[in-house]
């Protein structure tokens, strides 16, 4: 596909369609779109591919004082302070020196955490009100649709977005559904009100490639008497696709080096898969059963790529050691089970057992309701683990929805903890975020006060909600 060298060197990170740029480029302002030129850029693949137009909102510095600061980086500071300026966390500690123009927020009795990251959301692609008209998450016209991109379905006016913001979520990975073996590319988004998805795209984020194991693809196609209809069919399907991708990558890598003759024919499907093989796109693999995850780890070895994370992974606890060894994250629910056969063995200690095995754990919602209370889901999983005698610290548990999902997206140097230099994605909570009675009071995204429970001026509403009851200022 595209020349890999210009991409690696490009300052304009998002001009590389794969999003394969280093996260350090994340703070770069809106990308300049280079004009097509002679030579390699006369090939469409080398032109900008739906680049991020995300821009930070200018705002005054903010200092929150006298709050319990949970850094997700090993510390819980009682009566601490945090200073946000120019979209960055500047200082965290018992006291911080605040500039005179800083907005002062009294955090007495309140808690501060990093913004929550949900790496498995269908916001925008399965938007409310949930009619067929908004059902844009599953391209069920063939078992391998690596060519579809979730961002091309994403509806920024989904009324579920403001609800998730009010729950303290600052970054999401919007995924295609799981009906196919290879479902398409994810969109990694700043969860801010915007007119276009481009204005939400997290600069420099890696694309994910959603893949799905097990019941879903074999059911969707099996019912049509099409391939695949079995789990062995599923495996053959992935392998066939990656064999083609290897060939495609070889052709493009060669042409990118020598530019001899016409460029190879462009194929969007194989382009996504080739980017997985190059390590630029992260595999985000829907997979429930332990034995199937083990199969997928072998598949990844066969083709020389890494699976970044297994999503849903209700049986991850059965192979916690294998996952820790492979360096593949497990993205799980606190307590969902039983809604389908492959989800029958879900247990409430899944996350804690994985933590015990030192595997990388993330909690996800996969649900427009659950995304609003991921702090509660973490609390359940943490306490259920502790009650079973598994050591889990509050800091570790908080990392399940902050630092660890940041890693799943390749953004761990940019977001996910309260440390100086990190993006100012910060939530102020009314109390301990692990209490059922606690709510997000303020949500800062890149330093911007995007939600304030006590100020209707900072309670975004989607276009869809205008003219409807209930009025603004409620929790819907």
């Amino acid at each position: 596909m595209r020349p890999s060298i210009p991409c690696l060197l490009a300052a304009a990170a998002a001009a590389c369609a794969s999003g394969g740029a280093h996260p350090a480029a994340a703070a770069a302002p809106a990308v300049q779109v280079p004009a097509p030129t002679a030579g390699p850029e006369s090939v469409s693949v080398n032109r900008p591919q739906y680049p991020s137009t995300y821009q930070r909102h200018a705002n005054r510095p903010v200092v929150i004082t006298n709050a319990t600061i949970m850094t997700a980086a090993g510390q819980e500071i009682p009566r601490g302070s945090i200073l946000l300026r120019d979209g960055k966390i500047v200082a965290v500690g018992a006291t911080v020196a605040a500039p005179p123009d800083a907005i002062k927020v009294d955090g007495t009795g309140k808690y501060v955490t990093p913004g929550i990251i949900d790496v498995h959301s269908h916001l925008g692609v399965y938007a409310a009100p949930g009619t067929d008209a908004e059902s844009d998450g599953n391209e069920l016209t063939g078992p391998v649709t690596a060519e579809v991109w979730a961002e091309h379905s994403f509806w920024p006016q989904d009324p579920q977005i403001p609800l998730a913001i009010a729950g303290g979520v600052t970054t999401i990975q919007a995924l295609p559904g799981s009906g196919n073996l290879i479902d398409g590319r994810s969109a990694v988004l700043k969860l801010v009100p915007a007119r276009t998805v481009q204005a939400m795209k997290f600069p420099g984020a890696h694309y994910g490639l959603k893949m799905a194991c097990g019941e879903n693809p074999k059911r969707v196609y099996g019912r049509r008497n099409q391939f695949p209809s079995t789990r062995m069919g599923n495996m053959a399907g992935y392998r066939g696709a990656f064999i083609q991708a290897e060939e495609y990558r070889r052709k493009w890598d060669k042409w990118n080096q020598d530019h001899k003759g016409d460029p190879p024919e462009r194929n969007l499907r194989l382009e996504s898969l080739a980017e997985v093989l190059r390590g630029n796109i992260y595999v985000q693999n829907h997979c429930y059963r332990a034995d199937e995850m083990a199969q997928m780890l072998d598949l990844a070895r066969e083709f020389g790529f890494k699976i970044r994370a297994f999503h849903h992974a209700v049986e991850a606890y059965k192979i916690a050691d294998l996952l820790a060894q492979a360096g593949t994250a497990a993205v799980v629910w606190a307590d969902w089970y039983g809604f389908k056969e492959e989800a029958m063995d879900g247990i409430q200690q899944n996350a804690a057992l994985l933590q015990q095995a030192q595997a990388r754990i993330t909690l996800h919602s996969d649900d427009p309701g659950g995304i609003q209370r991921l702090n509660q889901e973490v609390a359940k999983a943490m306490y259920d683990g502790q009650r079973a005698g598994i050591a889990v610290t509050r800091d570790q548990a908080l990392r399940w929805i902050t630092a660890n999902p940041a890693w799943v997206l390749g953004l761990d140097s940019v977001v996910g903890t309260l440390e100086p230099g990190k993006m100012a994605d910060v939530v102020l909570w009314s109390g301990d975020p692990f209490s059922v009675y606690t709510k997000a009071v303020q949500v800062y995204n890149d330093g911007w006060l995007v939600y304030d429970r006590n100020d209707p001026a900072h309670q975004p509403r989607s276009d869809f909600e205008l003219g409807q009851e209930p009025p603004p200022g409620n929790d819907r």
Binding site: K340, S435, Y437
Partner: protein, 402 residues
């Protein structure tokens, strides 16, 4: 009812007891014998043969009651072989009582009860008239042993999901419901004519019309699932026309007509954590339950996910953070559902004579940090074991021992 066979006497001593029907009691005793509560108070004489359980520092409440699911009627959501909550191809299924579809061996039952939910509705799942729901205790080797009350209510639905039963219009569905109710009255009046086939064709089978008799006599409540304000108002209208004992369920936009619901004396079953708008309920909001209670409506809280009925306490906690008082929320998962389902003389409170469904918690039952320490169903202590605790034990250390 092994508890009765063993004639067990159990005294929970020293706990903070929430009788629900009365004020909180500190350092109180709950005495249970033969499956019933025999005394609750701070000055209870404990018989010498009683098994004493020290509940000092613990919170003691009635077992929680969830009125919102298909317990015993489903094992695996997507596996049809394990589902018994719906009579398909029959949108008027009034004669369908779910009881004989209940599986006392369902693994969901221990999973749910060890989280403090001791009693649930087992309700039919789909249709204009879905069928008859029953109330069950989450213990018992047979269906008979589990049943608390059967039937407890007829269940109908007026929503975007059932308007197809009226040809695709809400008005059509409401009219069809009235037609069935009219014919049930006609059938009751003219049984002899029906037997001689001297009656116009009726809108449902004789069995269904017969089953609607108790509903039309006001003996059996009619639960109507309705979310849109106009659907809720239709349910209220039909209930007035036919003098029905109505219970509203789900009721996303009920807060918008809370006063009318209160005036009609109709209770509402609400799942607090619902706020995703659909065209069936654009006005859905977290504060629904609190606003209804404020208007004087009797509310019971639900967790409608059968597999996670154990999260009823999370629902209750969220109802509190969205405007209910803590006491109102506790009542809404104990005594209020017992009253709504007509079993408050036996369930939902801790008082002499009540069935001994009792839970001992390490603290506030709605908090995630709180553990369930003891669960009694009909006076029998439940082992805190389930299929899930066995999976945990097997895989706590890897590799597992098979």
């Amino acid at each position: 009812m092994i508890g009765i066979l063993l004639a067990q006497t159990i005294a929970l001593t020293g706990g903070t007891v929430f009788p629900v029907a009365g004020p909180k009691l500190d350092h109180a005793t709950v005495l249970m014998r033969d499956g019933r509560i025999v005394a609750v108070g701070t000055n209870v004489a404990i018989p010498s043969d009683a098994t004493r359980i020290d509940a000092t520092g613990k919170w003691v409440t009635p077992g929680l009651i969830d009125g919102g699911n298909q317990m015993g009627l489903t094992e695996i959501g997507a596996v049809r072989e394990t589902n018994d909550a719906t009579v398909r191809n029959d949108t008027v299924a009034a004669s369908f009582n779910v009881a004989e579809g209940i599986n006392p061996a369902s693994t969901l039952i221990p999973i749910t009860r060890i989280a403090g939910v001791t009693t649930t509705l087992a309700a039919p799942a789909e249709g204009l008239i879905r069928g008859q729901a029953v109330l069950i205790d989450l213990d018992g080797a047979t269906i008979e042993a589990m049943l608390v009350k059967s039937p407890v209510a007829m269940v109908a639905e007026l929503s975007e999901r059932t308007k197809e039963a009226g040809g695709g219009s809400r008005a059509g569905a409401a009219e069809r419901l009235r037609h069935v109710l009219d014919d049930a009255l006609e059938y009751a009046r003219r049984r002899a004519d029906w037997a001689r086939a001297q009656i116009h064709p009726l809108a449902a089978s004789a069995a269904d019309l017969q089953a609607l008799g108790p509903v039309l006599r006001g003996e059996l409540p009619l639960i109507v699932v309705a979310n849109r304000r106009s659907d809720i108002e239709t349910a209220l209208r039909i209930a007035r026309e036919y003098h029905l004992k109505l219970i509203l369920a789900e009721a996303a936009e009920a807060w918008q007509v809370a006063d009318a619901i209160a005036r009609a004396g109709v209770p509402v079953l609400v799942q607090p954590l619902d706020n995703i708008p659909s065209y069936d309920g654009l006005g859905v909001r977290y504060e629904n339950a609190a606003l209804l209670v404020k208007a004087g409506v009797k509310v019971a809280l639900l967790e409608t996910d059968t597999h996670n009925a154990r999260n009823l306490r999370q629902q209750a906690g969220n109802a509190v953070s969205n405007g209910m008082t803590w006491d109102q929320a506790l009542r809404a998962v104990t005594l209020s559902p017992a009253e709504i389902f007509g079993v408050a003389d036996r369930y939902g409170s801790l008082a002499a004579g009540r069935v001994a469904d009792v839970v001992v918690w390490s603290g506030d039952p709605f908090e995630f940090s709180t553990a369930v320490e003891h669960v009694f169903i009909r006076g029998r202590e439940m082992p805190l074991r389930s299929r899930q605790t066995e999976l945990l034990d097997r895989y706590k250390k890897l590799p597992p021992t098979y």
